[in-house]
């Protein structure tokens, strides 16, 4: 009980959760029509990242290019690349899943979520290379 817990599975909320995640599933269904299957290192399914990134592995979103240039060097943090059309599609997706995502972030708000299952991992500090 005194060991640190690295993995937590969160209890599904009782009220309305089914409706909330069904709405998120519909948003995924709509979004997936805009993308095609491409193999990648995690498997063979459609995938897309959004948000702030850093480094040469991701490109800069078009409309933010000017602000990007204003930053002092080329590997500064930036928004992940997306076309204007994609930007609209993603904005719609975000609107549709907002309530669903609150379940991911709710535990960081004053009212914490209940947790029903815990898994403790024994991780040796020497097992990994410091990032």
């Amino acid at each position: 009980m005194h060991e640190l817990t690295y993995v937590v599975k969160v209890q599904q909320p009782r009220r309305d959760w089914e409706n909330i995640y069904h709405r998120a599933e519909s948003a995924f269904e709509v979004l997936s029509k805009h993308y095609s299957l491409e193999p990648h290192r995690r498997g063979h399914f459609k995938t897309r990242n959004c948000g702030v990134a850093i480094g040469p592995g991701s490109s800069v979103r078009g409309i933010l290019y000017l602000s990007y240039l204003l930053l002092s060097h080329p590997q500064a943090p930036h928004l992940l690349s997306e076309s204007e059309a994609e930007s609209e599609i993603h904005a719609e997706f975000i609107r549709e899943v907002e309530q669903y995502v609150r379940h991911f972030t709710g535990m960081f708000l004053p009212r914490h979520l209940a947790c029903i299952k815990f898994t403790t991992l024994s991780i040796s500090f020497s097992s990994f290379v410091d990032a």
Binding site: M1, H2, E3, L4, T5, Y6, V7, V8, K9, V10, Q12, W17, Y21, A24, E25, F28, S32, Y35, R41, R42, G43, H44, F45, K46, T47, R48, N49, C50, G51, V52, A53, I54, G55, L64, S67, L71, H73, Q75, A76, P77, F93, V101, R102, F104, T105, G106, M107, L109, H112, L113, A114, C115, T119, T120, L121, S122, I123, F128, D130, A131
Partner: protein, 173 residues
């Protein structure tokens, strides 16, 4: 999570467009895995902060008894992961994958994360580690020397089961 929200404040100070896509979220980025059969092969998300946590949620009509299970390699754990379930794991440190789902079933997943490079950028005074290594020997030496402390300190930020239960009940131990 304070480290995550502090980072967001720093990033917004650099560029006000770096606000989180989801207002309540301490994470800087998210991944939409649209399937139709989102089944991951074993991997670590090595761009993430290595001791950082990452929420993962599963969606879609699939039988969680026969597929879609989460496999965590280092702790040697396999568990059912239902439609609508959410879990938090240090996905940069723990190799994870899924059990395949049946043909014709659909599975989506949604994850949130913050790139480790963003933290390093702040720790290095708004420069990349590479830039610091090439231009500021003192800072680079200090950055490297502080590495083990960041590593151990990062893992110590996790809670015990007692603390999690207490938090879930709305109080702090």
């Amino acid at each position: 999570m304070k480290q995550y929200t502090d980072l967001q404040v720093e990033l917004i100070a650099i560029n006000c467009l770096f606000r989180a896509a989801f207002p309540d979220s301490p994470f800087c980025a998210f991944t939409m895995n649209m399937g139709p059969e989102t089944v991951c092969i074993g991997h670590r998300d090595f761009w993430n902060l290595v001791y950082g946590t990452c929420p993962i949620g599963a969606l879609g009509p699939f039988n969680h008894r026969t597929g879609g299970h989460i496999i965590l390699h280092e702790p040697k754990v396999i568990f059912e992961f239902r439609r609508g379930d959410v879990m938090f794991i240090p996905s940069g440190a723990v190799t994870h994958e899924n059990v395949p789902i049946a043909e014709g079933e659909k599975r989506y997943s949604f994850t949130m994360y913050t790139a480790g490079g963003l933290f390093r950028y702040i720790w290095c005074g708004l420069r990349t580690v590479k830039e610091v290594r090439e231009t500021d020997e003192d800072l680079y030496t200090r950055y490297v020397a502080e590495g083990p402390g960041r590593w151990e300190g990062g893992w110590k930020r996790y809670s015990t089961i007692d603390e999690l239960i207490a938090q879930a009940r709305g109080r702090i131990l």
